[in-house]
Subunit: 569 residues, 2 copies
Amino acid sequence: MASIATRLIPAWLRHYSFATLPADVIAGLVVGILVIPQSLGYAVLAGLPPVYGLYAAIVPVIVYAWIGSSNVQAVGPVAITAIMTASALSTYGDQGAEQYVLMASLLALMVGALLWIAGRLKLGWIMQFISRGVSAGFISGAAVLIFVSQLKYLTAIPVTGNSLIGYLSSIQQFAQQLHPLTLLIGVISFVLLVANRYGGKWLWRSWLSARQAKWAERLFPLILLIVAIILSVIGHWSAHNVATIGSIPHGLPSLTLPHLPDWREAANLLPTAGLMALIVFVSSSSVASTYARLRDERFDANRELTGLGLANIAGGLFQSFAVAGGFSRTAINADSGARTQLASFVTVAVMVAALLFFGDVLAPLPYAILGAIIMASIIGLIDIATLKSAWQRDRLDAASFIAAFAGVLVFGLNTGLVIGLMVSFASLIWQSSHPHVAIVGQLAETGHFRNIHRHSVVTYEHLLMIRIDESLFFGNTDSIHRRILQATKDYSDAREIILIMSAVNHIDLTAQEMLITLNRELAADDKHLHFSFIKGPVMDKIEHTPLITELSGQVFLSTNAAVNALKDL
Amino acid sequence: MASIATRLIPAWLRHYSFATLPADVIAGLVVGILVIPQSLGYAVLAGLPPVYGLYAAIVPVIVYAWIGSSNVQAVGPVAITAIMTASALSTYGDQGAEQYVLMASLLALMVGALLWIAGRLKLGWIMQFISRGVSAGFISGAAVLIFVSQLKYLTAIPVTGNSLIGYLSSIQQFAQQLHPLTLLIGVISFVLLVANRYGGKWLWRSWLSARQAKWAERLFPLILLIVAIILSVIGHWSAHNVATIGSIPHGLPSLTLPHLPDWREAANLLPTAGLMALIVFVSSSSVASTYARLRDERFDANRELTGLGLANIAGGLFQSFAVAGGFSRTAINADSGARTQLASFVTVAVMVAALLFFGDVLAPLPYAILGAIIMASIIGLIDIATLKSAWQRDRLDAASFIAAFAGVLVFGLNTGLVIGLMVSFASLIWQSSHPHVAIVGQLAETGHFRNIHRHSVVTYEHLLMIRIDESLFFGNTDSIHRRILQATKDYSDAREIILIMSAVNHIDLTAQEMLITLNRELAADDKHLHFSFIKGPVMDKIEHTPLITELSGQVFLSTNAAVNALKDL
């Protein structure tokens, strides 16, 4: 019994201390209230009716709170999953809202299933698949796309397509549909929101304390939303053709099996679902591990996979689109004092209350306000800081950022992400195919050997000692072969060539063949090839091959032994 | 003057020895005649009229012969570029043959431009991007797709789609359009061709010498083609609704600027062109480098890129689709005795003659014969041998094969290739995220330190020596951190922990932070962290960071020095 309870009831609940109850409740209420506008907006961004943003903040949140890896991470609808959903389903846009909604849930279900399977297979290490540069570049590119796509709601111009090029050309094409009043409402809201977000600290600090100012800044979008609703009613905006979101259906999300498409459709969605699962995992892990570090807790990538997986599976069955851990909602949650996932349950209660009691209140809200809220919040995701620091620290990482960013803008989300990944892998390959090869000499009076260009060392004219600073594989054999031959030309008096293998951790077939060829080439030139310091796993591989059996020289346990044996030849 | 001539005239021509002229002429004639059926078939596979297969064997071949890297590689239309062209342009299929042909040339031009740019940027190393497993899996998957797609010509059932799923469901849908006579012709031809290809050696050897048998086998498809033309005329096959290729237009390919689409179309094609360029380069390089090795010549990957690039650019301007080095045509060329690229010029002359004089002769040829020729020749590309040897040698490489193969069948060429690449990169990441960490001891009476599980070594109770056999980066820091902590628990009496860094060639920021944390954790437990054998490039990075400035222990030049200093504490 105890073990079943242990398995079914999360640790934070089994050991719940009621002292933290007030903090959790307050944090939960704050997050619940503050994220309503965003949630509505993300649903619209995903191409869904606004109410689905609230649905997505209920069932998946409960499931993640129960089994997720983080104590404070707040999952829910986020910008990236929303736009990836819209992009994946763009071809289903014409098939009517009902079909589209079911496809969005199917996608969440597929993403969840992939994450869950990855968790079972303990694929947490796959997080490293996406370097910092690629993820920052991808998210920045997506943020630009989101920003431009929201112009649809600020202008009433239909913006369609899957990339910046698509968006811009549809704006150009339909520019005459611009609706001036909608634009006015949207631009004013956007300007106010940006001023609040980036100037808010100074603005509010004139009258308020630092703490109050922070909350004023956070509450501002909600206040704007309420004011907009009031003005919309007074000014009869919908009678002036300002698109408003209309009545939100009462009631909770219900168990709705997503439309099961024929398997060709599912196969078509699968690659996109795979990329979404990767992004959901990487972005959520980055939030959860950041907060785990701050709170001195352990982050378990495999448990995070399982939690996100089950949250999305459950969400897919209850009318949700794909969810992930959100940086801003987690920040609010932690900042408001949340200690455990109980806060998430309170957040869910707020969503439920909104669905049951406030559906009609939101009806007069113009879409332009939601668009402006998203545009103002998305600017922060354009991560120029990471690009700058990558540029200074690691040009190859900066190249990955730029590739992912430009790829997303020009080719759309999926292709852009793949391009970014390709460039980051290419840079890894480039690095290992241009390995460091050092010519070394003996530090006087010691058994140590160091780079002749870095240390003042003893060398012997007839001995050439070359240290290879990388494992050998097909990718770098050519380059290493060339450099060894060059070294034997540069030091043409050397008859005994010692390759120091202390940094060679693997050796593949191509590399073994290269060394066999090298041995033959040197022998033809009356030179001997020796090895020193071959590691156990490498020696296991090569000891019975012609590389060792036909070696013109010897294999030494250490470079010192090699020098002692060969220096007086 | 001399230097201009040197640059413009290839080495093989400047030093041409007329002794090799007969061999080159014969090889060129043989290749030219033997590859006509294939060339017609590949054009059809690419979705183009048959004559474009001959066009593709003219201008690109001349250009490659002039500037390519290989002396014997025969470039031209190949199965992989043909099916990738068809797949990339499948959405243009309805826009009329003329538009489609121009798009195919545009694609060749884009592939050529990308290859040429890669050559200028000396990106030859990018060949390593595609492991043996991925390329064999991709080509095998493509071969299956090609095989199934050709059923279209053997059955008269319209087979459309971009993946095996697509093909099979369209076969099922249109099965009633099966044309029995076409099927009969196709199946008989296919059976004869397969019998010739896989039983030919034994079949022909009953009457002929080994050498004659080889030529009988090679000539058989051409003979079948001639017989089919004769039977088609006698039997009035086209009157019985057997589709025949019809008159081939007289005349040579002409300079035709490909349709310049708006830049959105070009942007859509660009990722496909990138993947095609990669495949063209990798498969051609594998042919060219194999023959360079056999003939003891040097293979220059960057020159190969430039040669393929200019060949495709020129081809794109002269009505060709994308070309690559073909294994079978190169094998025939080398086997027939070709010594230099002069043979390719003779091949071109054969194609020109065919275009000028034989256009009408080919008219009665049924498409079913071309389909059967391609199906019989494509079977050899399904590379089960590589899968088997990868399975025995390297399971991760086998996984890449399977991923690329299955990916191509289920999701189509581009997505399948990307999936294969992802799996191969994931396996690289997996390897380096699970590095070898050895606990070492001193070999008695020497300054050498080896794995305590492999050698009988001296250890000291208060000293723990750990050798890290991999560079440190974000991908493996977690795993290494855990294993070092575990080792300090297993050897809990050890107070002095020495990390031997001789195999650490790089160290990134995440890894530096991990080591700083480790230092603090060990210090809290009253243990000291020491380093030995840090390489120059690594030390340059870390010497002024807290990792060294706040280290609880010391940095030693060698493990021996560390032990001498610490063993008597």
